[in-house]
Amino acid sequence: MPKIQVSEPLVSPDVLARVLMAGRGTGAEFSEVYIEDKRSTSAGLDDGKVEQVTSGRDRGAGIRVVSGETTGFAHTSDLSEKGLIAAARAAALAAKQGGGGVNKVQLGSLVRHPVNEVKISPDGVEKSRKVELLRRVDAAARGVNPAIVQVSAGYGDSCRRILVANSNGVLSADEQVRTLLRVSVVATGDGGMQTGYDSLGHTIGFEMFDENDVEELAIRAAKQAVTKLSARPAPSGSMPVVIKRGSGGVLFHEACGHGLEADLVGKSASVYRGKMGELVASPLVTLVDDGTMTAEWGAIGIDDEGHPSQRNTLIQDGVLTDYMWDYLRARKEGRAQSGNGRRQSYQHLPMVRMTNTFVINGKADPDDIVRDTKQGVYIAKLGGGQVDTASGDFVFGMTEAYLIENGEITEPLREGNLIGNGPEVLKDIDLLGNDFAMGNPGTCGKDGQGVPVGDGQPTLRVRSMTIGGTAA
């Protein structure tokens, strides 16, 4: 089975229409059926052994009913008409408004929005080939240096078929295929243990491994761990920070991405509320969220409300131009949604989420950015982050960083968090490179739900950030 076949819809449009009507049975103005069928395979190697290959199947429907300001939601793993109608009635009851009567639902014809052409469906690839990748990663990482004492590697693929229908007539489908490989390494030396990590993930099939060298990935992670064995404690206090291309998109994800989500803005829980049209960042910064970015980890054909993904410019030359929107928030403002209504699975309510969020190229030569920095920190790899959108304070971890002394990258630093305030840091970006790259695949967590997201940026400098090290 080399290609994913264009398959029958998961549930027939006739049944969907009846379920949507049941959802509006108590007089609610909006009902929605979200059907998901996800197959996944994962394999883990640790301590030199392939520990376990896992196959998973998650299939079910989430039904949402909106009445006034109230959303009712129910989900079920029973995709029969009976099961769906029961869930729709539960959701309708949950949205609980008077009125009564049946509201006719007329569905449009099914629109398919395949996010990407998958060349090699992971479903059709022998599991032994997937496991073989892990063995190659293990061998390559261990080959880097005798200081490498432990390697763990994970492979995962998933094929997620979704079908969304709502009482406004939307009927759309998508098949999202994602493939992922990750490696973490432990190295040991006189000063204790250090770790290295790298990952590769795209919204494509097994062809990802024709286009990317897994050994290279393993070697990068191993070298990161070995380098850190001689790392000195990171400095403390505020200083210039240079962030390497493709490693610091998480900075924007935290510094302003979450704060531009319309649900948080709507509750005045974002420091970017009421700032439309204002200068919120250095004029060097143009920030885009783009779900159509083929093959990137956050790419989607449709969002989880059935809206086609799109490219949205959020900040143009430093000026705030738009927030990100889902159906409910857009409806409230009487405007169009932006393809940012996403959910973890059929068991979850959709909310405003990012897709692939990135800053486009500036003009500076990346080498000049380092040369121009007398004293500071160069970050080659960032870890995760966290933001308080209301105050704008955010942190992100540096997993591979170096000192910059007199315009040169010098000694490696131990791990730590950096802290800053979103609007202040955005205004403090004083150099932006011309070497844009996307970063590692990420999982963004919000309100207990995780969704795949991508980020990217060219090499850039922030004039001043607080480094959470231990050195004085």
Binding site: G60, E69, K96, A390
Partner: protein
Amino acid sequence: MSVEVPDLQKLADLVIEQAKTGEQIEAYVARGGETSVRVYEGQLEHFVSAQSEGVGIRIIKDGRTGFAYAGTLEPSAIDEVLAEARDNVQFGTVDEWAGLAEPDGVEQVPQKLWDEELANYPTDKKIQITKELEKLTLAADPRVRAEQSNYEDGWGETAVSTTTGIRESGRGNSCYVSVATLADDGDEALTGFGFSVGDSPKEFDLNKAAREAADRATRLIGATKPASKRVTIVLDPYVTSQFVGILSSALNGENLAKGRSLFADRLNEQVASAKFTLVDDPTNELAYTATDIDGEGLAARRNVLIENGVLKKFVHSSYSARRMSTKSTGNAIRGGFAGGPGVGCLAMQVQPGGKSQAELIASIDDGVLIQDVAGMHSGVNTISGDFSTGASGIVIKNGALAAPIREFTIASTLQKMLLNIVNLGNDIDWLPMRAVGLTLVIDDVMMSGS
């Protein structure tokens, strides 16, 4: 378990009966549901009522392991899962220690895990409580806005059967309310939260949740960024709970076996201040994560991990125990039917000290009360021990709380911080987390700011 779930046990039994010669099979079957209520500005924002179920099957043959799961209990789907798990076995590497748990004769300590009143609690009352919490929060302080007021409950039933003789089933339910607050400070707003847990909603202390949520947001109004310096930090119980929780990874016997514990080779050595005693005790009913069995179906039990600062024990599942030539400590953990068991602490408890938080603060000339931390997942490495998190809190000056501060980090290493524990509070707080909360005083931590 205390209450059996015969129909799920039957499903699990039916799976393991299909074992072929030389196969060990474990079937883990689960079913559960949740209610989620959110209120905003006096209106019901959402009401979620959901049920889910599924099965995970693990097969071990000739030292190789395979696993599969499905989010359904339809008989045909279970057959498919069994076939997939069996197919997956061939791709595993032979591991001489691979195997399922076997009954070890340790008796379960009965727990009250199911509350009948919660199970029958009326929906409209759940909504009413959530509205009430929002109202109380707004009334607690005029400077406070409520971002969301929530009620959540959940119930679960599980059964596990293995060809090695484990047969356990049980059910549990729980509920809590929480409220998130905002207090405006110019263009910015400061956030707070409060919550209350109980066996049933009648045990909620809504006033306390509202008060805490209002205090947390308002006490940081006007906060500034501090200058960098070395300080004594006083961790609020909620922060201590997170700090203690991350130690689970270093005390994990599987991490030890695989060379990933910073406590490797330190057994019976002084790894923490003599004032620090850490116990994992899921048999203590007061703990939010109390349980009677672990993720493999063995009895949960009390384990002393660090006693007066001396490392006494690592926690084990049957697999890590076999590797380390010891016995399972009943610490297999499991996230649900979609994965096999791992290893971890179940309910971590720190032996309290003798003083209240106020008394501890009164004894400090120059320090910081840490109210909240951010980035525990991005700036703390439990293998190297490097510790760095964002923080907010209140300066302690000559034994009294002074100005609020934010946008700074605190950094050290886990190894040093444990040795630098100088005092513990008597203010045990059974938070809805894996580890208990209490006030913890740690010396010589780098505070990084301007």
